[in-house]
Amino acid sequence: MQQDQQKSRSINLDTSACTTEGLTVQERSEQASKDKDKGNEAFASGDYQEALLYYSRSISYSPLAASYNNRALAHIKLENYETSIEDCNTVLQMEAGNIKALMRRGLSYKALRRFDMAENDLEQVLSAEPHNKRAQALLNELYKASGKLGIRHSKPGGTERKGRRMVIEDVGKGEVSRPDTDCSRATAQGREEETSSKPANQDTNMPSHSSHVLGKGASADKLTRDDENSMRKATEQNNKGGHVQIDATSDSKETVDETSSPHSGSSSARMSENSSNEVPASTMAPTPTRLSDNEEMQPPASVDKMEASIKHMETNLDKQSQRLDDVLESLQSKGHNVEKLAEGLKFLRESVEKGIVDSETTLQSIKDGEHELQAASERLQNEENTVKHNQGEQTTTASDITKSDVTEKQSERKTTEPDECTDVVAKPTMAVQEVSLPPEPPAPLPDKVVKLKDQGNAFFKAGQYADALERYTAAITVLHKAKGNHAGNLSVLYSNRAACYFKTGDCRASIEDCDRALEETPHSLKPLLRKAAAFETMEKYGFAYVNNRHVLSIDCNNLTAQEGATRCAKMLQELQGPGWRVQLPKIPSVPAGLSLLDRTTTPASVQQSVPEPTPAQRFEEVKVKGNAFVQKRNYAAAIECYTECTTLLPDKALGFTNRALCLLKLNKNEQAEQDCTVALVLEPDNVKALFRRAQARHTLQLYKLAMQDLLHLLKLEPSNKAAKTQIETVKELYKQELEKKRQQQKTTPPVVKKRVHIEEVNGNNSEHHITDHTKSRKDEGKNSKDKKSLSKDSKLRPSIKKATPYEFLSAWNGLKKTEGTEPYAWLLSQVKPRELPKVISNKLDGEMLNMIVACTDEHFIDKDKTELAYQYLLNLCQVQRFGMVSMFFTDPERNRLRRIFDKLRERSSGKFTTQEIGILQVKFGV
């Protein structure tokens, strides 16, 4: 059948070619876009062959650049790279500088291993869009892949990169990063083989791979052969060629790439750090000579720096060994192959020490190695030529790319940005920052840390995550000086910084920080939650799930974790089928007694370490309390908390802005405005304060001022969506106001010149022109409501004649934000009483019933429409579900009903008898 389909498809193509004759240009372009859409749909469903067919048909109707571009992508998916390049070329002829076409051509060139061309394309993309992550990632991969073949790039630092690596942290989180899609994309199998032999260490391997990069791709691999670890070599051979390592190295390399760029000045210092870090990489060959071997692989240029760095290494040694201890502990706690690891790590430490002690010898051997390396690279150069034409090589890379495509495909289908998945960029990690930071202040005081942390928190709250990041990092550095008794605080800081990283989209760094935070205080909730969130964002649902479960095992009522776990479970099930649980990493067990207890101890420990609560801390505490109230929507209580905040630290805008929020919620707009104004005096560019003041002014009908606030805000944050929508509505209202003003001026004599915005509603309510300030304000509020209901009514009037349930309900629900019964009464008055059951249909609920009763009370009975009120109440009984809903009247509501019925009795004007009222009363159950 498959064949049959293929055949008929080719027929299809032929016919399309002949049907183009006799069509007008318009018809053709219509057909072309139709077929392109079909192609897109087929592409979305994963049927690339069919997509290709439709794109081709679309092109045969009318050659659109988009069709060519899409066809290029389909070709890439089907691995027809040459044709893909042709299509891209066509697109670029039509539209020079088309980013997508450049990207796709780059991808195809890369797949064809024409790296220079690929690089050229990708750099063009980057010059047009400097922040195109996908292009960056691809380019980095490209450097690696090309580096693997030994192609020298003129890119500055291109060779230098190879020598750098970050290792130490990776040991700790080795097991975390194992199923990293980026790595597994290339090589799930190969890596698992490695990991099975040494579970927690495979990330530490990566750097040493990168040192081998030169030889890897070639089948005749000289460097590996003469190397120390026959073990790894064996696994490599299992992997059938080296493409596995390409991607394995890619991660570590990019780490290096990122870290080295911003602080090139301190490179030698970092180098030493790196090289000492490197040592654990040699777990498999823990001999003193390993160090020298390792450095031997480094490019010759770096050897000079090495001398200087070794001195530095010694100073770092203590720190490092301490670190190793920590790592060891953490690994033990994680319960992974502990004994083996412990052995390995002890060995390592010895080797480090030895390595440092023997630094002299090492230096010598480095120099020797340098010569060797040169010789080796020469040999490689020769080999490289043969490798280029090596068929086997090509196929391996091809498959490499397909695999990567598969992940891409999946990510695209999930309609997430493909960049997220392929974004292999690892941002600066902790170790580097420690080194690269300016020298720490000599005597770090807890106060200073607190200050930094508060600043960080403030920045974080304000959404300035980069600044917050900086503060936290500084705080961590300061606190590190006084290490030991600050574990809890450090954990909090790390956790906060993780949140920053997460917000800035750097999930990897976020996870690392979470890991560190967990190292300091294991089983604390926030870092676990953040880690889970980061993993989820990276689409590593397995780990996200595990972390969420971990949280739940500590605090089973944590809603975020519960939701996260369910979400992840769903995703996993979708991705891996019913057996997904088997593939999960182990969920760490929580020691008994820790669950729930931990929640209270963590914050407590933070406070313990900082003795007497300063106003700042008190502020923080009260604020947190206030926030909790806000979450529970207990705004009055929250206001009290925030008021305390403002008294504690009157120079902090935060208290004021938060109080303003609560006031807004309670509809106390004037006070909210005042609070915001205070906040803005303290911080003229406080975004939240601006927005809230605008909201307040909006409801106070000070449209112009609201608009000014919003414009200011948008200047600060041009992408603030909420502000944008708000400004649109305010603009509209302001326009209306102006218009009304104009009309008013035409109709009314200019005698009443004060308080113009009162007059906007109607000409007839001249009683509003009262000079009393408060009174007129109140009226204003009323007017706004009037106006709202009026505008609604004007819309509703025609449809309400038919009084369909849909119209009525949407109008009713639309009033939910307004206060008071008046708009409801207005709406109700447009529905004839006997239509009530039909209009409400089965949508009656307690709220609605109460509102209708209130309406009849306040607006019909009291305004001499007793008969109407009676009719409404009578018909209300007929509404579906009335019996059920009326059972749940509360006492005040019952009392109100009694009052209503009493009034009705008093004023019955013959249209209904007291007896009838009695019956009604029974129906209402009072």
């Binding site: 027929i11 079909k38 979305a44 994963g46 849909y806």
Partner: protein
């Protein structure tokens, strides 16, 4: 608020029972078909005009009209094919509705459902009309052939005749291939291959089939949505047919009453609207599985894998059944629907491009 919203843009109440509505291709007009109280047929053309609809053309026919389709009409002619209560198939030129362009006594009883293909640039091959009737027959018509159907699919003499409630074309992606799917009141679902002139596949879903539609008529058949009497619909993956298991499907509950019809968005085949007997309409999105085929262990033949549907929106428009729904081909998100509350509604569905 990122999900699509359904906005009832215009509501117009009519003085006759509405059975079907169809947008006239490449225009802001649509045809409403139905039955006047005295049993005559109503055929009215409306035009959208500044937030209201205005009657452009009206004509009364002797028989109540049940259904209509532009599917087999050429774009420059835009002839409407209708089926009426007496089993007559008529093709009307809407410019002049005095006499039909083509007329044939297609069935003995009411024509429940009609569909056309290869007109309007949708589908390859000869333009054809298919009708399904209470007399149990499904007939395919070519307007170039007077008086008799091209294909007649009816139960053999003496066999029980089931009421055919729904028919639709599909698989018309080249000149040769074409399929007709038919649904019956007893839950029979049949797929006829018009190329080999054979019954390609049949099944019974144990519930009367009210409506069915392929996601696109003019591609290698991809998906078929089948709606049933008792608040359920089925989605079949039509790409992979297993010799024993047939096509795989999923079942979804909706509307908590009869699901009257289904219409796929012309601009995106994976989004469709179902209309309910309780006056609600539901917007759905189909998501494909990671792999659309799988091989079970020890078997050579591949079996299809069905994806999942998610509800994007559920809106109650009225309390009466929504009898027909039609997306506008030219403006994504614009749609018309008729309900038994004798009201015609023009709907706008937002954010369909962001789904």
């Amino acid at each position: 608020m990122d999900k699509p919203q359904v906005i009832s843009h215009i509501e117009k109440s009519m003085n006759f029972t509405l059975y079907d509505v169809k947008w006239i291709p490449c225009s802001a007009k649509f045809v409403v078909m139905g039955a006047h109280p005295q049993g005559t047929g109503a055929l009215q053309v409306y035009e959208m005009n500044k937030g209201d609809v205005s009657l452009v053309h009206e004509s009364q026919k002797s028989k109540a009209i049940k259904c209509g389709s532009f599917g087999a009409s050429q774009l420059h002619q835009r002839c409407l094919a209708t089926g009426d209560f007496e089993g007559k198939l008529n093709v009307w030129n809407l410019e002049n509705t005095e006499v039909p362009v083509y007329s044939v006594q297609a069935h003995k009883e009411i024509i429940n459902s009609i569909d056309g293909v290869a007109g309007l640039g949708i589908g390859e091959g000869a333009p054809e009309i298919v009708t399904g009737s209470r007399d149990g027959a499904v007939k395919v018509w070519d307007t170039r052939l007077k008086g008799k159907p091209v294909v007649e699919i009816a139960p053999a003499e003496g066999e029980a005749r089931r009421d055919c409630w729904a028919v639709t074309f599909g698989h018309a992606y080249n000149h040769q291939d074409r399929c007709v799917a038919a649904g019956y009141d007893n839950g029979d679902l049949k797929l006829f291959d018009l190329r080999s002139m054979s019954l390609r596949w049949e099944t019974n879903i144990k519930n009367g089939i009210c409506g069915l539609e392929f996601d696109r008529k003019d591609i290698n058949m991809n998906k078929l949505v089948v709606t049933t009497l008792e608040s359920k619909f089925h989605v079949y993956d039509m790409r992979t047919q297993h010799s024993k298991k047939g096509f795989t499907s999923l079942e979804e509950k909706a509307h908590s009453s009869t699901v009257w019809s289904v219409r796929h968005l012309p601009q995106n085949r994976d989004i469709f609207m179902t209309t309910g007997g309780n006056g609600s309409i539901c917007l759905w999105k189909y998501s494909y599985p990671a792999s659309r085929v799988e091989k079970q262990e020890g078997e050579e033949e591949e079996v299809g894998v069905v994806g999942s549907v998610t509800q994007l929106q559920n809106t109650a428009l009225t309390t009466q059944p929504i009898s027909a729904f039609d997306w506008c081909v030219d403006k994504p998100g614009l749609a018309a629907c008729t309900a038994f509350d004798q009201t015609l509604r023009i709907l706008i569905v937002t954010k369909l491009n962001k789904v």
